[in-house]
């Protein structure tokens, strides 16, 4: 519908005009096509390219139940569906209590005041070191590669926080990835996803009601 033929509008009979062909082209089909393509591309395109999050697992030792290495600053997360429980240091069961009695679980969550705050406090050593090194990088006293190397070294120091992640049957993959992501944000270098002990599972069940 580029132009409607206008007729009868004041033309006097007898006077003949050379017919002017309209310069306009009917664009409707083109517009239709353009929008069709537009809709197609809008609906099919995915913008964010998928990312990968690296996680090194401990090697599998079939012959011996590997004893957990003694760590100075360690925390164990027990993960259930949408819930996180944790205890610091070693595990003491009710039948074999440690100096402070048997281990009790504390609960936390995925909010800003939950696990993130907890980790930033416990991993103060590495985070402070990172701040100092980052300042040096900014003032061009330190190369980027050296920064990364020093950070990797700091993460395995005895004062740096080491984390064990244990999951029960109900925890989803999303819970796990979220927690590991929080650990990465808190610059934790040693993350070990391991099997839950039966005593821990029992304790988790008591707390998770």
């Amino acid at each position: 519908m580029a132009e409607m033929a206008e007729s009868g509008g004041g033309h006097k009979e007898g006077k003949k005009r050379a017919k002017k062909s309209s310069t306009r082209v009917d664009m409707t089909p083109m517009v239709d096509l353009a929008f069709l393509l537009l809709t197609f591309f809008v609906l099919t395109s995915t913008f964010s390219k998928p990312r990968i999050m690296r996680l090194a697992y401990p090697a599998k030792n079939e012959d011996k139940e590997s004893e957990a290495p003694k760590v100075k600053n360690g925390i164990t997360f027990l993960l259930s569906k949408d819930k996180i429980f944790f205890y610091t240091g070693e595990f003491f069961s009710a039948s074999k209590p440690g100096p402070n009695g048997p281990t009790t679980l504390k609960a936390t969550d995925f909010s800003a005041n939950g696990v993130r705050k907890l980790l930033s406090e416990l991993n103060m050593y590495v985070l402070q070191k990172k701040e100092g090194l980052a300042k040096k990088v900014q003032m061009k006293q330190l190369a980027d590669t050296t920064f990364l190397r020093l950070m990797d070294e700091a993460k395995v120091q005895p004062d740096a926080l080491k984390v064990l992640v244990k999951t029960d049957d109900k925890a989803t993959c999303k819970n796990f990835v979220d927690l590991v992501d929080e650990l990465k944000i808190a610059e934790i270098g040693v993350i070990a996803p391991v099997e839950m002990m039966p005593e821990e599972l029992e304790l988790l069940k008591q707390n998770n009601k």
Partner: protein, 223 residues
């Protein structure tokens, strides 16, 4: 009575600006769009703040929301080597037509026994395939054999690529040539089911794994 003349306005509107805009958007989306090869299952991965981008060269195990495993071998040459190695190990054979079909398949998921029926099925039929997924139970684990053959094949391929690059006088990028081991798990599946797949990797002493995630803002906290 004189007729009242209503001035006739033309019913056509100038559509040029609209068309311009439409084509601009079409061009933008066309260039920005990236297409993924069709996959037998849809998986919604969880999000993370990681900034490493998923490489093309990868060995990926997809775990769908039912915990079924699917294997993706990025390199076409390595795919050929893998299937031949696995078929030899299981003592089964495929016709040349079926093999041809497999070579073109980036992602697949079924037991070795079901391969002929799986390959014969059309793409939509495969999505509804009942016994989909590679068996990865601790008592019957085919996935481990697939992974073993695939990693060997990918490593062989990497060696050839390295030699080729050196011949051309280029300095090869090891990160690009050696494949990444990626786990693409649905966020809703229980971690225990993913753990079964991870254990298959650990059994053959590959422990450096990557989780595929969608990007998220680093400051955001999860609810």
């Amino acid at each position: 009575m004189p007729k009242i003349k209503i001035p006739k306005s033309s019913p056509s509107i100038d559509m040029t600006p609209m068309v311009d805009l439409a084509f601009l958007l079409v061009t933008f989306f066309m260039l920005a769009a990236s297409f993924r090869p069709s996959e037998p299952v849809t998986v919604n991965t969880p999000s993370s703040t990681s900034d490493k981008i998923l490489p093309e060269n990868k060995l990926m195990v997809t775990v769908d929301n039912k915990g079924r495993a699917f294997l993706t071998i990025g390199d076409a040459e390595a795919r050929k080597e893998t299937i031949n190695a696995v078929l030899a190990q299981y003592g089964s054979k495929l016709t040349s037509k079926e093999l041809e079909e497999f070579y073109g398949l980036t992602t697949f998921g079924c037991s070795v026994k079901d391969l002929p029926t799986y390959l014969e099925a059309s793409e939509t039929e495969r999505q509804r395939f009942e016994s989909a997924g590679i068996p990865a139970d601790s008592n019957y684990n085919e996935l481990v054999d697939w992974l073993k053959s695939a990693i060997t094949a990918l490593d062989n391929r990497a060696v050839t690529l390295l030699a080729e690059a050196k011949k051309k006088g280029k300095t090869p990028n090891y990160n690009e040539i050696y494949p990444k081991l990626v786990i693409r798990a649905d966020g809703k599946v229980t971690y225990k089911k993913v753990d079964k797949i991870i254990n298959s990797f650990r059994e053959i002493k590959y422990t450096d794994l990557n989780f595929e995630t969608i990007p998220e803002l680093s400051g955001k906290t999860k609810e």
